[in-house]
Symmetry: C2
DNA sequence: CTATAAAGTATAAACGTTTATACTTTTGAG
DNA sequence: CTCAAAAGTATAAACGTTTATACTTTATAG
């Protein structure tokens, strides 16, 4: 029971306030320390009458157990770290929400470590989270320098799960969405609409997700006996989509449908074609990926592929907690994406030359 | 020194691994426990030779101090909580990055608590973060139920700072951006371009930021002796901007410039006017707010008002840490936004009737 | 060589819980 | 009323640091 100094709001005078501990609850409730501890930890062998006394005392004194003492005694921090690069992304937002929610359900608190892409590529990522033994486990979201992260975490024996990994065959536990299926579904949708000149623009090829989506694209086309119109890799982002599409138009490469590797690219492509008088979806169909917030709000609303972010977070938490419990033989998870058909895709119609 | 069970990767056999503590470092380095502790805490009175021995032992044994024990002994958790509603926002993203960075610089770890707007409005917000004494302080980002949060935090005597508060006169320490100035600057820019039919569309009026931006808008107009063309309140988001602008056009309300309360609204407004054949910025100037990522990527690039997110996070951390240190007489911070002139605003030109 | 300061050491208390052990009281069935 | 089970109690160890105190060694100036 230590004291700390506080200041009354009105006078600014310093007064001393006793920090309350479990002993104060013992005193107030009149039961033993062990009983109080049992109530705190929901141990069943406590008479209801005593439980009430304890709860009452806790309420009256506004007692909150000291987490450090608990952690020390229990050998557990109750903290799970989540490392990521950016937050400004519907998918990440959904995952973080989900992870947060499911962790809280299980009595864990979420520690966040955001690093900039630059730091992460330099391998400096999340050094802080790794330094003390502050967390019971770590969820790594879409790590750029995956190998290094895995090595580090294994060496430190910190339980971890990776969401959206980029390595073909990482031996770590992972939660992924079937990007091949996403690419396949998107492309199949365009084929079903009668398109035969289908282009694909996507992000950098070193992303596994990019390669997988492209594989789905290629596979769907091959099964339909259709040759790809063109495939382009660039950076993610509206601007890149715009530039790529502008390039196509200037070269006379004129797809009737485009499967973009993410919604921002799709938006850029739309911008470019519209700038040349194309109407969407009448003259060209566009399909994105990720279902960013703007996708359903722009005009026309963007057809896209949604990743099940709620499930991703839930599964990652489930896997990690099992790992922490010491469960062996857990296996990685592969979830399915969902095609959202909106207004930027339509049946192929022959377009009159401009 | 306790033991824990681990599994060899190859055999799956259970082996016992000793968890290393400071005592192992004492043994390995041959110096006293106090000296080791001093090295760990950067106390200067340690001979360089001994410091090296200790550091060497720490490295060889891959020792990381137990954070729970540290926290207990120091009476500090080293954790700062950040509560917010959504992450999917350039401004929030910037603030979280900044908060994270500046906390780490000061040896703190960031605990995140995301709640859904629904939860937050129901007052259930962040209950978890408040329950144990898990954090040394809390940064509250744009609280919907601000009064309740403040009351709760004061009652629990948890040091806190609010970023982007919505109450006119909260007695809490806050970090804000001068929304009045933002509205004023944006409107002044349009006036300087020769516009006299300027509309304003913004979010719900119960947001202080919305009212302040509007006040800046009104003040700038009044100083110029210009009457507002129209002022509308709706929800934030592309769709709402689109609908409002559509309504204007149908009613024959035709501003030559629009100041939108955020970038998404601006995008919706642009969509609507473009759908009616308006060219931007030739026929109508549009200005947004926040400088979301897409603002500089769309075509034409959106003129907007940027909030200094890096500074906001930095100031919030600074204030909070001072508060934790026990410093009195800290004062709230008001930062200035910046007008970013890009391609959606241009000199007023008389437009020929369609 | 001595006196003094700097740097080291050992020892122990403190931080606030959890949890094991051993013992005591209460409750309820027979 | 007796006895066993359930529920309680007291006591103490453990968790791994930090930090205060008092003492010892080492380096350095005179």
């Amino acid at each position: 029971m230590s004291d700390f100094i506080n200041e009354t709001a009105e006078t600014g005078r310093l007064i001393t306030i006793k920090k309350i501990s479990i002993l104060d609850i013992v005193e107030k409730s009149g039961v033993s320390l062990v009983t109080v501890s049992r109530v705190l930890n929901n141990v069943p062998t406590v008479r209801e009458e005593n439980r009430q006394k304890v709860l009452q005392a806790i309420k009256e004194l506004d007692y909150r157990p000291n987490s450090a003492a608990r952690s020390l005694a229990r050998g557990t921090t109750g903290l799970i770290g989540l490392t990521l690069i950016t937050l400004n992304d519907t998918v990440f937002d959904g995952i973080v929400h989900s992870v947060n929610e499911h962790l809280e359900e299980n009595g864990y608190l979420l520690a966040l470590s955001v690093s900039s892409p630059k730091e992460e590529e330099a391998g400096k990522q999340n050094s802080f989270l790794f330094q003390e033994d502050r967390v019971d486990g770590i969820i790594v979201l879409s790590p750029l320098n995956e190998k290094q992260v895995i090595l580090e975490l294994k060496r430190k024996k910190i339980p971890f799960v990776i969401i959206d990994n980029h390595l073909e065959s990482s031996k770590a536990l992972t939660v992924n969405v079937d990007n091949y299926a996403g690419g396949y579904k998107a492309t199949k949708h365009l084929l079903d609409l009668g398109h035969t000149h289908i282009a694909h623009v996507s992000g950098p090829e070193h992303f596994l997700s990019v390669r997988e989506r492209k594989r789905g694209f290629a596979e769907a086309l091959e099964q339909a006996g259709v040759a790809p119109c063109i495939v382009a890799h660039t950076d993610f982002g509206i601007r890149c989509g715009y530039e790529i599409a502008m390039g196509w138009i200037q070269q006379g490469i004129l797809p009737t449908a485009v499967f973009a590797g993410d919604d921002a690219l799709a938006l850029g492509v739309m911008d470019a074609f519209r700038a040349h008088g194309y109407r969407i979806p009448d003259d060209i169909s566009i399909i994105g990926y990720d279902d960013q917030v703007f996708a359903s709000e722009i005009h026309p609303q963007l057809t896209t592929v949604r990743q099940p972010t709620e499930q991703m977070g839930k599964e990652a938490v489930r896997l990690l907690l099992k790992l922490i419990e010491g469960s062996k033989r857990n296996s990685s998870v592969l979830l399915q994406p969902e095609l959202l058909i909106r207004q930027t895709t339509a049946n192929y119609k022959h377009r009159e030359k401009q």
